[in-house]
Structures are given as C-alpha cells and as structure tokens.
C-alpha cells in the first residue's frame, strides 16, 4: 500500500523497556541512521544503575530519548512525540512525557497480568480512557518476532532477544529510513555468530515490512537533512569525543599518551575507547585503584608522557592527595571528572554538576588548578584538547569536567582535520650549555618552569611534595619562601587567563535585563530557552563558560551588562558561589538536583518570572 509522506521538522522519540530489552542499542542505532541522513540530533540515554534490575519493575526501566530534526537541535527535547513502551513499567515511567496527540507504540505482550502487577497497575492502562488523547499502536512484538524466527532453530529466549530489532525496523519504516546501516552494524557485531546476524536482520526486516503491509499508518514521516554548516560530519558520544581529544593532543604535542584509570561509571568508556588505540602509542593502564591511577599518571608525566586520568566523583576524591603532589611538582597532567549524582556512591548512572567545588577547592593547602569544562558531547573533544594544551604549556595539572549526560549523549560533530588543530608546545628545558646549572623551579614570564626528563644528561634533579625553595627547588621550610611559593603557584594559574580566549556572549542579547550564566552540560537547554525568550520579545543573554579557573579576563565586565544574573546548575548552587565571590554580583541560582537535565520549559519559566517582576 502506498502511503503519503508527511514532512516533520523535528521529532522526539523515547524508547523505553526493561534493562534487558536492548533499549540502548536500539536508540543508538536509530540515532546513527538518522545522523547519516544529515539530521541534527541530541540524545539522552537514561538507564538504571543495576545491570539487571528486577525484570518488569519500575526500577528496571531503561530509556533512550532522542530528538532529530531538519532544524537545529540542541537538546534531546522536553516532551516526546513518540513513546515506544516495551512493557507496562516502561509505559508508566514515561507516559507523562508524551505530548498530547502523540503516538504510543506498545508491545502488547509486555502488558500481561504479571507485568501490570509489577508496574503497580490494577487495570491495564491500555483500556484507560485517558489514552484517547494519544494514537496507540499495539503490536504483539514477541509473537511477531517468534513468527519471523520460526525456522531459525533458535530457542524462545534467544528469539526474544531480537525483539528490539522488530521495533527498530518498524520505526525505520515509519520515518522512511533504510536498514543498511543497522544491517552492517549487526554483521560486525555478530561476525563470529552468523546465525545471530541472520536472526536479527530477519526480525529487523520483519518489523519494517510489518509497517509497510499493516494498516497502522496512513502516512509515513520524513525528517529532512538539517542545514548544518557545510562540512563533514559524524555522530559522536561525549566520552568518545573526550578520548579523541586526548589522542589528538598527544599527536599535536608529539608526546605519547599515558592513561591510568580505574573503572567507574560514567567514565569507564574513555578507558575502553583509549585502550583500542594502542597504535597511536597510547599506554592505557587499568590501575588497582584511583590513587594508583593518579600516581601512575604522575610517574608517567615525570617520565615525559602526556599523563591523563579520568574518574567520577568518588574516584576523584581518592585522587586528591596525589593531585596536590602534581601541583607541587608542577608537572603537566589532566584529570577528567565525568560527574554523576553524589555524594558518596550517590546516583551512579544519573547526571549532576555537583563536583565543581571539589575541583575548585578539593585539596589540602593552597592548591589552585585550572578547570576546563565541556558543554556538549562533541565539545568534549575541544575541552579535552584544550585541557591538555594548558597542562603542557603551563606545566600544571588541569581538571576537565564532563558529566554523565554529555558523556553518554551524542550529537553530530563537524570533526576537524588534523591540520585544523593547533600544535601544542611542551615546555621542555632548552639545550644544555655546559657551564649552566639547571634550576628546576626557575620560571619564565608566565611563571612556568622548564621540564627536564630522566635521560637528559646534566639535568639530574629531585622533586617532591615538600615545599620548594624558589628557583632551586630544594626543600625549604623558610616562612617567607613558603608564602612566596604559595603566591607564585596561584599567580601562575591566574596568568593562564592570558592564553585563553575572551568570553563571548554565546547566545541572545549582548546587554539587557536578564543573563543566563551557565557551564557544562546545560549549554543546549539554556541556549534553546534563551532563543525562545528572545523570540517572545524578552532581552535575554546567555554566557556559557568553558574556562572556570581562571575565568576569561573580560567576564566581570560582561556581567555588568545585565540587570539580573541567573545561574542555572544541576546542583545546589556551586558556580554561583564562585561568581559571587569573585565579582560581588547578586546572582540568583536556578537549581535542579534530580539526576536529570533541565527541560527547556523549566528555564523559560524562571526567565519569564524575572520579566513579570521587572
């Protein structure tokens, strides 16, 4: 049957099911395929902390939200147009996010008596009148899948594992997409198990054909390519972009990468990615704990490598003492914190921005260090590269802050070529003249010391955590020397402001009533909200910080251009403390501490209030 094709500018879909249902894989495949069609995309995977949470329960629901469009897409969307619910629990957790007149695709087999009970329903919600507001498509996905695989020789359990492919095929039909990308993916994934390639591809096609032959749709949808700036694109996840940024910095500085790390959600994927690239000279080391990871990085940096570690809050806490040593040694290294909900073990799979003060202050003694933060999945690349540049050119440990939301989220990335990237120049000691004595803590105009590596003749020297004498680096307990060294170390970090770009007003009005001052993963949602408010006639500006320590030199002046300053953060107010402290401005916080990102609506509401009051 020939169906009409209806154009859509943007669509938000939530895939939801049990954590064993392959939801993340389905979402990722749908994302990658749309990316190849040139859509702008933003994704938000949201899954439970348990690998196999009790089946069918609310706690076990895994979700993958994505928005794709032919116009700019900066967030994964507030509410969704389409909800795919593989069982009753997934339905219950997500139904509130479905827009009026939205579409629900239901796996009816996931709504039997047991599923309903586990989800806490007395009666099936599918019989509820409230569903009349939506368009409901019920499919017995289990049955369809088993039918498609009747001749496959697979057992029922194995067959059921392909159910997600049925749904994916169905959606590919609905959005007018070809299956090739996913088929290619399945061939690689199951290269060693041809029977599974056949099964999954078969079910994928069955889903697609079901869309075609059944009468459920009167029309299909099409989302055209977005008019992104000209260039070559790929889809990328945040952690992957971080790993690539680190490798790029290694290549552009001519230093091999040493990566010492201990697994922790949501940072482990950086380790997984880097471990694949040994042919770039990457030495990835899974240490026995985070303390060892950090210390191994110090050893590697002492040896002249680009030393990197990554963790999340609990692991960063363990690294703190050794980071302090890195600061005393004035050696280059980067510490990545992919933040998650805290304190303690907190919400391991949920996002939060609550480790900013930990990065800023979380060491004993006067121990300032630069902090760079990433704004979007693809921006993790830039931020990682920049963190390495600062570390190597200014001889200091640097914090790079990312978080679970952008680490696991993905978006199209206009990737650079290697030639587009600047070279990084490590601060090695100059060629030795015979009569000179080497002073390890002698500094240049930026207060940066020279880096002498074991193996360099005539530069033998000792470093350590005890206070150093100015210039010589010898141990010194002299009171005046200590005060001087504390100030030198602080000024050295402050001077980094000379080598970073001036802050721009990222979006909206250059001057006006309200400024939204944000950092990290709130970029997309704040940008979307600010745009919307300006369209509605409010004058709102948006400044988004990449550099949090030190701040760009002109930030204080920019802040003066607005009457009200709002600081939105996924925490209980952290950047705001630093801003008030440094600039003595009456900034107001907008805080959400639920382990999930802001919705655009939440931000617009607060901006509107400012205008109502004003």
């Amino acid at each position: 049957m020939i169906k009409e094709v209806e154009e859509k500018q943007e669509v938000t879909i939530v895939f939801a099911g049990d954590s064993g249902d392959g939801i993340q894989l389905t979402g990722t495949q749908f994302t990658n395929t749309n990316a190849l069609y040139g859509n702008d995309i933003s994704t938000f995977p949201n899954y439970p902390a348990e690998i196999r949470a009790p089946q069918g329960t609310l706690a076990g629901v895994s979700g993958f939200q994505l928005k794709f469009g032919s116009i700019e897409v900066a967030t994964p969307g507030d509410d969704c147009d389409v909800l795919v619910a593989m069982n009753a629990a997934a339905f219950k957790v997500n139904i509130a996010r479905l827009k009026k007149h939205g579409t629900i695709i239901i796996n009816s087999d996931g709504f039997n008596a047991r599923d309903l009970k586990l989800a806490g329903y007395q009666h099936s919600p599918l019989e509820d009148k409230s569903l009349n507001d939506f368009r409901t498509i019920q499919i017995d996905v289990t049955k369809m899948t088993r039918t498609a695989l009747v001749d496959s020789g697979l057992g029922k359990k194995e067959m059921d594992r392909s159910r997600n492919m049925f749904v994916l095929g169905f959606l590919y039909y609905m959005y007018n997409r070809k299956l090739e990308g996913t088929i290619e993916f399945l061939k690689q994934k199951f290269a060693k198990k041809p029977a599974l390639i056949e099964a999954n591809v078969g079910v994928l096609k069955a889903g697609y054909h079901f869309g075609d032959t059944s009468e459920v749709f009167t029309s299909r949808y099409n989302v055209k390519a977005a008019s992104l700036p000209a260039g070559s694109y790929r889809n990328i996840m945040g952690n992957q972009a971080t790993a690539l940024g680190l490798i790029a910095a290694s290549q552009k500085s001519g230093l091999d990468l040493f990566y010492g790390s201990y697994p922790i959600t949501p940072a482990s994927d950086i380790l997984h990615e880097l471990a694949k690239h040994k042919n770039f000279g990457v030495r990835s080391f899974q240490a026995e704990d985070e303390i060892a990871a950090m210390c191994s990085v110090i050893g590697a940096s002492f040896g002249g490598k680009l030393g990197i570690t990554a963790s999340s809050g609990p692991g960063i806490a363990l690294k703190a003492e050794a980071i302090g040593l890195g600061i005393m040694l004035e050696l280059p290294m980067v510490i990545v914190n992919v933040q998650r909900g805290g304190p303690s073990t907190g919400l391991p799979t949920k996002t939060e921005q609550a480790d900013l003060l930990q990065a800023y202050y979380g060491r004993n003694g006067e121990a300032p260090m630069p902090i760079v933060s990433a704004s979007t999945p693809s921006d993790c690349f830039n931020a990682a590269f920049e963190a390495c540049r600062i570390a190597l050119e200014h001889m200091t440990p640097v914090f790079l802050l990312s978080d679970g939301y952008i680490a696991n989220g993905s978006e199209p990335w206009k990737f650079p070529t290697s030639a587009d990237l600047p070279n990084i120049t490590p601060k090695f000691v100059p060629e030795k003249k015979d009569d000179e004595t080497y002073l390890p803590y002698k500094r240049d105009k930026n207060l940066v010391r020279d880096w002498a590596l074991p193996g360099m003749k005539g530069y033998e020297h000792r470093v350590g955590g005890l206070e150093k004498e100015v210039d010589t680096g010898n141990v010194s307990y002299d009171p005046d020397n200590h005060e001087q060294m504390v100030k030198i170390r602080a000024e050295k970090i402050a001077k980094i402001a000379d080598s970073i770009p001036l802050q721009i007003v990222n979006n909206g009005a250059e001057k006006g009533d309200v400024l939204l001052l944000s950092w990290g993963s709130t970029y997309g949602v704040v940008k979307t909200a600010v745009k919307e408010c300006n369209l509605r006639g409010m004058t709102v500006g948006h400044i988004h910080l990449t550099y949090i320590s030190p701040f760009p030199k002109n930030l204080g002046d920019l802040l003066k251009n607005y009457t009200h300053i709002i600081v939105p953060e996924i925490n209980n107010g952290q950047l705001i403390k630093i801003i008030r402290d440094q600039f003595l401005v009456d900034a107001k916080g907008l805080n959400k501490i639920k382990g999930i990102p802001f919705s655009t609506k939440e931000i617009i509401e607060v901006i509107e209030q400012k205008f109502e009051v004003a």
Binding site: Y233, L244, A287, C295, G299, P454
Partner: protein
C-alpha cells in the same frame, strides 16, 4: 655518547650537596652508602637512574642521590614508579620505602606492582616502627609491642613482609641488614641484576624509636646462632662453628647437628625452587621461643617472568603492525561520515 671519553663513575658522583637529615646512628646511612657504592656497577649513566620514594625517614633517600628522583607521597612510590616504568621502560628505577609506607598505607600498590613484575628494585627499609611520625608501631612490629600509640601493647599480628611478597608472586625476594655492609652490597647487586621486581627487605635499626629491634641478628654474640646466610646450591648451615644445619623432617624443616645429620635430609638452597621459597619465608620465628629456626638472609627466590612494561611495548608494536601507525584524520572521521553542503 660513545665518542666522548667519560671517566668511569664512582660512588662520589652519586652524592648530592644536600644535608643529610637522618638522626646520627640511624641505619639509613649505611644503606645510602652501599647504594651509592654499587651505582657505578650498574653500568648506567646517572641520568638514566631514577629513585622514587614515599614518605618516611627512609624516603628522604632520593634527595641524597645525584640521579633523577622523586620524593612522592606516603605509600605511593610503587604506583608512581609503575607509571614511570610503563612510560620509560629503559630507565633504571629504584623504589625507597619504609615498613609503614610499603606495607600499611601502600600495601595495595605494593602487591599489585609485584604481580605485574615491573623491572624495578625495591628497598624496603624495615625498622619495625614509624620513624618519621616519632615512634608508633608499624605493620611489622611484633605482637604486644609497646609504643606511643600502644602504651599497653600492640594488638596487631604483624606481616611477614617476604611471605606477603611471595604470596603476590614476587619474582625476586631477598633480605639483608644495615649492619652487614658486605652482605648488603652483594644482595643489592643481585637485586639490581634481576630483571623484574626485586624485593629487598633491609633490617634497619631506628636507634631513636626502636633501638635494637634486630640486635639478635646483628650483634656479634648472637648473629651466627640466629642468622642463616643463604647460598644457592649449598646446604643451609649456620652456628658459631657452622655446626648446625636445617634438615627436612617430612615437610617440616628442623635444626639438626650437622655432624649427626643424614646428608640426604639436609635442605640445599635452590633460589629457583618456589616450593622451598615458601618454606624459607616461613622461617620467621620469634628468636625468644624455644627450638626456633634461624632467620634467613640473602636471596630467597628468583624467577624469570615477563615484565608488564615489556608486554605493553609488545602490544603497542603489535597493534601498530596490525592496524598501521595511528592516523589522526582517520580516527577523527570514523567510518560513518556524511557531508552537509
């Protein structure tokens, strides 16, 4: 390098201009002297040698060695050295650590470094006390030890450090003492020649907070009775007149009179025998107990096993051969590219 005529290095070349801050009479001096004296025999240039320490009295050591060095943080020298060794496998790396540093706060890193078998030399200065913090008991202090933090006696059962190392599959374990410079020198040299992690425990007297902890092994009057110097291929003989030996009674080692012993029962030291090494590390009796075994010194065990850093280099070389040298542009583009016009 080969063109220039360099004078052979001497111990003096390894001294620094820093004032040595150990208490007068501390056992650490003797170790420093022996280490400086064997340095020229490594056949390495000064710039290729790195000393890394943790925190403790003994950990001041790197400041006194004219090589590259790092005085790191408490317990972590092993972890720092691991990262350095992976990064720069060609360097000669020496770790200086105390009984508290290596076995208490740094116990975890120690065992993991040992199982990975990095090619490093570890000098474990065991004085059975926390020196730097002024005299608390340590993980090697004997049960009941009265110290500042245990005024009515320690409740901790101590570690047997070499047994712990063997348990972590150490490829080289040895013991020596500050008061026997000649033996120290021999053991240090053997350790430096071993390729892999060389664990050298050094009984070191802290004359301020734990004076005489090892006196029975170092004092002329008791040394020959209480110590057993290991020599590979030779029977385990000791005693003032070398009149005693160790014989195996089934699987149990016992002290026997050499003259009366059945030669076939005598234990012959074999550095390469890991089962015998298990027995030898268990020679850890309190010398005050009746019928105790003597305390062994020397090389207990040596084995060849692959080094982590070397295997890492092989992986890198192998990956580079398989996939070609990393191409940044291909990495950045990935395999699913589309173009916007």
């Amino acid at each position: 390098m080969s063109e220039t005529l360099t004078k052979p290095l001497t111990a003096k070349d390894f001294t620094t201009d820093q004032d040595i801050r150990w208490c007068p009479g501390c056992g650490d001096y003797s170790v420093l002297k022996q280490v400086q004296s064997i340095m020229p025999e490594l056949g390495r240039e000064k710039e290729d040698i790195v000393f890394i320490s943790g925190i403790g009295c003994s950990s001041r050591f790197p400041y006194y060695m004219n090589t590259y060095g790092m005085h790191s943080i408490h317990g972590r020298a092993t972890a720092v050295a691991s990262g350095l060794k992976i990064s720069r496998p060609e360097l000669s790396v020496w770790i200086i650590t105390g009984d508290g540093d290596a076995l208490s706060i740094g116990g975890n890193h120690l065992i993991h470094m040992i199982r990975r078998n990095f090619d490093v030399n570890v000098l474990l200065f065991n004085n059975e006390i926390y020196g730097l913090t002024k005299g608390q008991y340590s993980p090697t202090s004997p049960e009941g030890k009265v110290t500042k933090s245990t005024p009515i006696g320690s409740l901790d059962h101590p570690f047997n450090p070499l047994k712990l190392c063997l348990g972590a599959d150490s490829t080289f374990i040895a013991r020596t003492m500050d008061r026997d410079p000649k033996h120290q020198r021999e053991v240090l040299l053997k350790g430096s020649q071993h390729v892999g992690t060389s664990m050298i425990e050094i009984y070191q007297n802290c004359n301020v907070f734990n004076d005489g902890a090892f006196e029975v092994y170092t004092d002329k009057g008791s040394k020959l009775q209480e110590t057993l110097f290991l020599e590979s291929g030779k029977p385990l003989i000791f005693g003032a007149d070398r009149e005693k030996a160790i014989a195996l009674d089934g699987t149990i080692p016992r002290v026997v009179n050499l003259a009366e012993a059945n030669e076939a029962d005598l234990m012959i030291h074999d550095e390469r025998n890991r089962f015998q090494a298990q027995l030898l590390v268990s020679f850890f009796d309190d010398p005050k107990t009746e019928g105790h075994l003597p305390r062994p010194f020397g090389v207990f065990y040596a084995e060849d096993r692959y080094r982590y850093e070397e295997a890492m280099e092989e992986q890198i070389a192998g990956a580079t051969e398989r996939m070609g040298k990393g191409n940044l542009d291909l990495l950045l583009s990935g395999s699913n590219v589309w173009t916007a016009e």
